[in-house]
Symmetry: D3
Subunit: 248 residues, 6 copies
């Protein structure tokens, strides 16, 4: 029996509120149970030095937690004057995941910033960030088309992410904080709507896991991703036509 | 005629949503028109070095803006590795304002952190932070009493803040970003429910102002504060009894 | 009776030594009692990024204290690797105050740096910095004219600053450190020779103050400013003709 | 045909030189083809704050590259004043991997530092670091026993790591830099001698991969790990008895 | 002929103003021609971690330049967020030089800070800092005795420093900035009143020098030091009895 | 009798392994007894701002120690976020020493980086860095000629460095760590093959030294440098023709 009485392969209630930050070029509040992340997408008219003059664009992710998002107040990284290793790791994951489903040759020399600000954390903040960041991105693409920056959407697939793990010897889906803290194995899956992997990161938390356990986790993870992507589609409504894969 | 058709002494619509971050010891979302700030209050069981062993507590404020809160994306201070002068100035103001209405001798050797995270900025974020920070503080005091940390509330007055300015030669209340950018004078008032001043900061933005203009600004500012404090009371409901002054 | 036996509305002895740092483009040592600040003005042939190509100039202030300036040695901010909030606040105030009395359109794409280095601190260092920074600025303007950088002075008014406060229930002028540490209210006034305000910053140090107290402080503050500006004029001698307002 | 004419499932020549840094408590130079990493293990008589007083020890990893290790000189992170995200990610991986095969309850309140300094980089530096870090660790354990710090080895398994990828549509083992830069998928496997996973990190480099491709990569990866662990055993000689699992 | 018409072995005019910063425990303004340095000595009631519990004291030096001290404004190290290599080098030299003439076992677990703030720079700031730092130190020792912290002076010798160099093929004493910038060799000598060396640092500025040139520089340097130490004695007046060597 | 039974004027065994890092443009491993330093030289196609557009090149040095190079693990400067004073001092010395024997006008607008990474430290790491850095530099020059960047070598002299000191009242050559820690005087000499000085840095470690002691140290130091330069020549083999002075 899980701490919140869910079945092993059951997701927490998921809510997506698009347009949560009207000033942003694209935005969404995403909730997985008590985990809440504000995701925004913003266009900047320049690219990092290594892309200058190439005509190609860039997409990058940033991630932060407000101090009261965790049970024990988390000091601000700005006050400490440096960004933690964990934050770097998550930011890099968000960036790689969303870059994999967009053709950056088609957006001109611009950077799309995906900012994920966790306002309440109860496990799975990085996967919620990727899932909600995708929604903010599509709204941003819509805005770019309206602004005349681009003519058609450069996004070719859906992307969503979920955590899986081994808890009490059993594969479980979408771990909350309490489960996550006690899991033997913690794994994050990032996948597309065609069932392809973008990223897979599994770690035996100071322990190890077998091939059989890996298979079980992937199985419930794939099913979870499928459900989440259908929720993304519902949330996007008419904007689904901005995902090329959707016409497949 | 003001840019949003308000009268010179008219506040923007104000909304207070207490308990916006359930994990925090106290919290509120405060909105002044399009300006939205998440305010939280968190108790930490230790004090800064200068108070160790004194039996006295501390209250401090922190302030940040999410990158998409402004029209042009604002780079994170954590990524830049340092906190800007403006942020320092605002944080110090929030801390001083809220320390002035609480008896810190009565909370034991604890620190109350008031975190103000701006999720959308349209002028007046520092005054909204103080006003909303007060609500978060009272909810936090309520939680501390329930936890048995303290027996009665150490808060002795209400505190609220508002901006006033001289725009087009006229004194105006609660400036939005567009007004603020073009005002000749920008002034922030922090006041108690008894009409006392806690802080007054007026600056001729690369210009100057007369005693007469100062008086006009203070007049509409005082009236504005009065209205805001009555909204704080409405929002607090039964918790108003935690403000000693309320029994006066 | 004040700690140094002054009347409530009496300034400490003020001394201005122009040209204290001959290498600087403009300089002055300013003393308010035991408070001593070296103020220099230096011209740099470039502007911050936001002004590039506009033809407009900039003026900015920096402030520091030598370690032995205070009773307890104050660690260097360079050694700590970061600038404190208080320093940021003061630097911003110095910059705003002096920008308000100069027409920056007339100096070309140059930056004037006003550096204020406190060599002994006994209260009122920020107001002494503004007052002495003005003298350094006028000497710098004189140097710029001699160098042929500009033809006429872009300075249109005098500016001076002073602290006032409520101490033992009475409004007092020009607080020394001991008074400042125990004052109920601390206020800084920055004003021009025409009696206009440039900046007003009053704070109830963890307490509050009434409209009546505010009026009393402003009254003795205005008189103090008037005296200080006449000392600035004496110190400037023939250079007073570089302040346009002086011809009024 | 691979760029260095290897078979798809063929490792580069691997050399392990234990005791490369005699001053360290344990050390090894590990080479995978042109990739060369100095790994050292050092004991420190204290633990991070969260372990103080628990009687439990800690193990942590650090990673750096000398500037000339890459084709284009890599600026030092010390000169830049901050540690890059990639470095953080690798350091965390090294630490987690080696913590998973040691019982930290048995080493007392001490920290074992595993330092991995890349002196030449040609792909696979993080997996080489883990593999070589294990050798340095065992030598360090041997030294701790000789010093009388511990009585028996707390290490219960071997751990080794290798990279796999999809290159030109085919699964390949142990990618060199040129392959790594052009691979569609890049995956790192960290495994024990009993065939269990400690960590699996696969990323479609701005692309995606199928379940079938995942299986192929894992198959050649597992075989590669097996070979590497037999090399670790050869290198350790009589010290293999310090790995409890070796008695299985 | 030297740029300022001095003889090759002639010092610039030297002025020492003891007690320049009355708040400091010891202080002096020292001038070598246009070079002016404020030196202060301050006692702190604690020692660095490596001396805790040893009963021994410490002495350390810090050095900074105010921005307008040089012809081109020198940005503050606090604003840049880091201390330059040159500053580190000078600070370490000041500390070593003054530690060599004091018995730190005799001051208890205290740190004496020697702060050297250059307010105008025209070559030789580091040697002026050491020479003036010594005066501040003796005044500080006098203060410590008066405070009852120590019974007798722990200082056993005088120390002074001077620069020498090879300019236009000739050995010259006490180089001003213009000479220093064009010298083939630049050397700093730190010596005691008994003619012993404490530090000798000579550098061929991107060139080299012979044994013969070295001898010439040392000869005029030794004579210069002798003169400077007699000036230190004059400046100290009755305090010379605090230097044990003076009784020799 | 010295701790390692050497004669007072005897060097430790010196080994030079050129080409130790094949990826670098020039490299060498240099060993003085147990002290081991990896020296590399790398060409970068740009110069610091102050040389832009001058057609002149630059040479700079960097120095670091791997954590396990010392008996007690030395925390990484990258983790601490700042470079220590000692490191700055050594880096500046390496740069000055090698700049003095190369004509930087002849290498175009390029920077040659000399990186010295200490992998084991037993005294004399800075002098080993200079001596080995010279070998890396000559190999780099050879590579530049082969690449067609320059036509002939811009190096005009050999440069080598050694430490000398006063230990137990006697002048000794090439101090190991144990001697260095207990020496009364520590001195570093940097010299050319023609017997000229490039740098001389002697410090009485919290003590002082006489002219006679200085002479003794210089005598054995000069002899030591002569031996080291002959080893450099042996190590360079046919590349000695790249040092112009060699044809003298």
């Amino acid at each position: 029996m899980r701490v919140d009485a869910r079945a092993n392969d059951e997701l927490r209630p998921i809510h997506i509120t698009p347009g949560f930050i009207p000033h942003a070029n694209g935005s969404a509040l995403i909730e997985f149970g008590s985990t809440k992340v504000i995701c925004t997408a913003t266009v900047e008219e320049r690219v990092p030095p290594f892309l200058k003059g190439t005509g190609k664009g860039w997409l990058t992710g940033e991630y932060a937690m407000i101090p009261a998002s965790t049970n024990i107040r988390k000091p601000r990284e700005s006050s400490k004057g440096k960004v933690e290793g964990r934050t770097h790791e998550i930011q890099r994951l968000i960036g790689r995941s969303l870059r994999s489903i967009i053709n950056l040759d088609e957006i001109g020399e611009r950077t799309i910033w995906i900012d994920c600000d966790v306002i309440q954390a109860d496990g799975g903040t990085r996967t919620a960030s990727i899932t909600g960041g995708f929604i903010a991105l599509i709204h941003c693409i819509n805005w770019m088309i309206k602004q005349g920056m681009i003519e058609k959407s450069p996004v070719h697939s859906y992307v969503a992410a979920i955590s899986v793990g081994i808890y009490d010897g059993q594969a479980v889906l979408d771990l909350c904080f309490e489960e996550d803290s006690n899991a033997q194995v913690d794994m994050n899956l990032v996948m597309t709507d065609t069932g392809e992997f973008i990223e897979i990161q599994g770690t035996g938390e100071e322990s190890s896991f077998s091939m059989e356990e890996l298979k079980q986790m992937m199985q419930i993870g794939q099913a979870g991703i499928k459900t989440i992507i259908s929720m993304q589609k519902d949330s996007l409504g008419g904007l689904t036509e901005l995902v090329a894969g959707d016409a497949r």
